[in-house]
Symmetry: C2
C-alpha cells in the first residue's frame, strides 16, 4: 500500500487512524487497555535496518522509492490515547494516530499486535483480580505463552491487579515483584519427599512454601510440618479438587498447630475457579494458562481504521467503511466517561467536525476526559514507558476500576457495563 | 530450585526430563509438533548476560554460587525428540532432555513456551489446511498475536500446510513465501473507490487482488472489472455471509467476462468456516485470528517432567508424579508409530529399564521410529534450524499426515485418532 501510495502521491495525505474495539470479546462487561507503554518503547526503536531493507529489495517486495522511504522512516506524527490501565468499551477511541498516510498506516500491525495481546491478558487478569478480592494473585504462566509474549503477559497481568509474577525477565524489564515456586521435579529429584523438603528449608528458610502433592497430600503435609515445624510459611497444592483439598489441608495444618501456614493453590485456575474458591480456606492463587491466554479470548479484537484524511484539495473529511457487520465510524473523536456520584454510567464519544477537537472537559463537568497525549509530533512522552509507566498504569487501573457499577463486577456474559454514546459536535 | 540443588549437591545428578502432552487440547484427533527448530536456535544463544546476572544479584534472587553457575551456563547435555512437523498423541515423548538436573531443569520454561505456542498454532493450521483441500491458504494474523509470537505463528502455520504469510519478518527469517493485501484504509484514502483501484493497478498490475467490500460489494466488483478489465487477478471479500456473497460475486464476475478472476475471502475464518465454504466458489482463504491463536486452544498444554535420574549411589531410577489427575509416567521412552499398509494404528511407547534405550526400529518392522537426535552432548544438529529446518518440517508434516486414518481428518471433537500404548521393556 505504501508503495502504491508513494507512486500516486496519496502517501503524504494527512491522515487520522483510530484503534478501537467493535465489541468486547466473550461478553465481557469491560475491557482493560494494556500495552501502551510497551508500544511507545517499540515505536522509539521502530526503524528498518540494513538486513530488513536488503530482504525487501532482494525479494522485490517494494520499489526503490519505497526502500528509501523506509530507510529514513521515523514516526513524526502524534498519538493521543487512553491511559494504559484505563477501561474501554465498544467504540472507545483507544488510540488516535495522526500523520501522513504512509507514516501512520505502517504502525497498524505493531499497534494492534501489542494492544490486542496485552489488553486481552489485562482484561482477563482484572476479572481474576476482582474474583480474588483481597487474596494475592501471582502470574505463573510463562510456559503456556510464547517466550516473549510471556513477558508482556506478566506485565499486563500486573497492571490489571496481579501482585507478582514468576517471570524474572518481567521483573527485570518492568519492575514487577517476582516470586518462585518449587516444582514436582524438585521433589522427584530427591530420594525422598522429606529430603526435598529439608533441602528447600536449608536453602530458603522456614518461610518457604512446600509443594505437598507429588505423592500423597496428607502424608506430604504431615512431612512438611514435621520437617519445618508449625512456623512453615506455606504449602502449595497443584492437583485434585482444590476446594475439598484446601479444606482438608487447612484442618490438618490447624490440627498440627500450623495455624499460620498459608495455603496456595495453582491448578488450572481461571476467574470462575477463583470465584468458586472464595468460601474455602485458600490464602493465595497462582494462575498460569488462563491469564496468559486471556481466559478463552487471547486477542482483544481491536482494529485500526482510517477515520479522517485530507482530500485532493487539502480539505479534511471523515471516512468510514460501510460493511454492515464490520463498519466503522468516521471522524476525530473525543472521549469522556460520565460519572454519577463517582460511578460511571456512560462512555461519551464526541465526533468533531474537522481536524480539531471540539469538546473539552469543561463541556461535561460530570465527566472524566479519557485521552492523553502520548506522542506529540514525534516526541514520545517518557512517563508511559518502562517500569514507571507500568506502576502508573497499575495505579490508574485500580483507581478507575472503582468507578465501575456493581453489575460490571459479575463474571457472566453480558452487555458492556455502560453504553457508548456517540455525539456529533456539529449537531 | 537450582540454588537449593547446588547447595545440597543434587544439582549434578544426571537427570532425564520429558516434554509431552497429557491430552490433546479441544478434543483434537492429532497434534502437530512445532517450534523445535526455533527452540534449538534459542538454545544456541541461551546464556545469562551481565544485565541479567546483575538483576539476579541486586534482588538477591539467587546465591553467589548460583550466579557463577549461571554465568558459565552452556547446555552440554543431549536432546532427542520428534521431528518438527511430526504428529503427536497423548503421552508421545516429544522431547527427552538429558543432562545434570540443573542443566536440564533450567530449559523447562523455554522449551515449553516455544513448543506449547508453536504446536498449538500448527495443530489448528493443519486442520485448516485439511479443510481447505487444494485451495491455497494464507496466514494474515499478525495483528491478532503479540508482535514476536506473530512471527512464530506464521512459521508454525506454514509448517502445517499454509502456503504463504503476510508477515514479512517471517519471510525474512524463515524463508516463508509472503503475500500482501490492500486494506480498507487504501480505498478510504482515495477520493473514490475507482481512484483507489486505478492506483493499485498502476502500481501492481492487473494481476493484483482488489478489495471490493468497502462500500457496496456489487458496485465494487463492477468498478473493479471496469477499471482493470476481465483479466483482473482477483477480488477480496472481507465481510458479510461469505458463502452467499462469494456465489453472487462469482456470478457477477462471470457475467462480466472475468471468468478467470479469483475470489479470496478473509473474514474471521477458522477450520469450520473453511469447511463450510468448500462447496462455494472461493479460490483462496486468508486466515487471521483463529490460526495465530490456535483456534480456541492457544496453548498445547505440554508439560516438562522429570522421568528418571541418578540416586544418591549413582544408580538410575525412574520417577513419576502420582497425582491422579496430573500424573506422569517415569522412565526413558522410545516411540514408534505402527502402520498397517501405510496407515497409522498405534503410538507405541516403550519404556526402558534404565538409562539405555532397549527398543530399536528393528523390533517393530511395521513401525516408523519417531525420535531423532537434536542435540548430542551440547552439539546442536543444524539441519533443524533456520529456513532449511522449516522447509524440512513442512515436507515431513505433509508426508506423515498422509499416514492418518480417515477418521482423523474430521473436525469434530473426539478421542485421539490412534491410541498410545505404553510397553514396559522389562515385561
Amino acid at each position: 500500500m505504501i508503495d502504491a501510495a508513494l507512486r500516486d502521491g496519496t502517501a503524504s495525505r494527512h491522515s487520522m487512524f483510530e484503534l478501537f474495539a467493535r465489541r468486547l470479546s466473550g461478553g465481557r462487561r469491560f475491557g482493560v487497555v494494556a500495552g501502551t507503554g510497551r508500544l511507545l518503547g517499540l515505536l522509539r526503536e521502530f526503524r528498518f535496518d540494513d538486513a530488513e531493507l536488503k530482504y525487501l529489495a532482494d525479494h522485490h517486495v517494494v520499489s526503490r522509492e519505497t526502500l528509501t522511504y523506509l530507510e529514513n522512516y521515523r514516526f513524526t506524527g502524534s498519538i493521543t490515547g487512553y491511559r494504559e490501565g484505563e477501561l474501554y468499551f465498544p467504540g472507545s477511541p483507544i488510540l488516535t494516530v495522526e500523520g501522513t498516510f504512509a507514516d501512520a498506516v505502517i504502525l497498524e500491525t505493531l499497534a494492534l499486535s501489542v494492544l490486542n495481546h496485552d489488553s486481552a491478558v489485562a482484561t482477563a487478569a482484572s476479572r481474576m483480580s476482582i474474583a480474588a478480592g483481597e487474596r494475592p494473585l501471582a502470574e505463573m504462566g510463562a510456559r503456556r505463552a510464547a517466550e516473549r509474549s510471556a513477558v508482556a503477559a506478566a506485565r499486563a497481568a500486573y497492571i490489571a491487579g496481579f501482585g507478582a509474577t514468576s517471570n524474572l525477565e518481567a521483573g527485570r524489564t518492568w519492575g514487577i515483584p517476582t516470586m518462585g515456586t518449587a516444582a514436582h521435579s524438585w521433589t522427584l529429584l530427591h530420594d525422598t519427599e522429606e529430603d526435598a523438603f529439608r533441602a528447600q528449608i536449608a536453602a530458603l528458610g522456614h518461610d518457604t512454601t512446600l509443594l505437598v502433592d507429588t505423592y500423597d497430600i496428607e502424608k506430604g503435609v504431615e512431612t512438611a510440618i514435621r520437617v519445618a515445624g508449625p512456623q512453615l510459611g506455606g504449602v502449595r497444592i497443584d492437583s485434585g479438587d482444590l476446594a475439598i483439598v484446601a479444606a482438608e489441608v487447612r484442618a490438618q495444618l490447624d490440627a498440627l498447630g500450623a495455624t499460620g501456614t498459608k495455603i496456595t493453590v495453582t491448578s488450572d485456575l481461571d476467574e470462575y475457579a477463583i470465584a468458586a474458591l472464595a468460601a474455602y480456606p485458600v490464602d493465595s492463587y497462582g494462575v498460569g494458562t488462563s491469564v496468559v491466554t486471556g481466559s478463552g479470548y487471547p486477542t482483544a479484537g481491536m482494529v485500526y481504521k482510517l477515520v479522517a484524511r485530507q482530500d485532493a484539495n487539502g480539505g479534511w473529511i471523515a471516512v468510514a467503511k460501510k460493511a454492515q457487520d464490520k463498519g466503522s465510524q468516521g471522524g476525530l473523536k473525543t472521549a469522556f466517561r460520565r460519572l454519577d456520584r463517582g460511578i460511571a454510567y456512560e462512555e461519551l464519544v464526541e465526533i468533531a467536525d474537522g481536524f480539531e477537537r471540539s469538546a473539552t472537559p469543561a463541556d461535561y463537568p460530570d465527566a472524566r476526559a479519557l485521552q492523553v497525549p502520548l506522542v506529540v509530533r514525534g516526541e514520545i512522552d517518557t512517563a508511559h514507558e518502562g517500569p514507571q509507566g507500568v506502576a502508573a498504569a497499575r495505579e490508574h487501573h485500580l483507581r478507575v476500576r472503582e468507578e465501575l457499577p456493581v453489575r460490571a463486577l459479575a463474571l457472566s456474559k453480558s452487555d458492556p457495563a455502560i453504553p457508548t454514546v456517540f455525539a456529533d459536535a456539529g449537531a
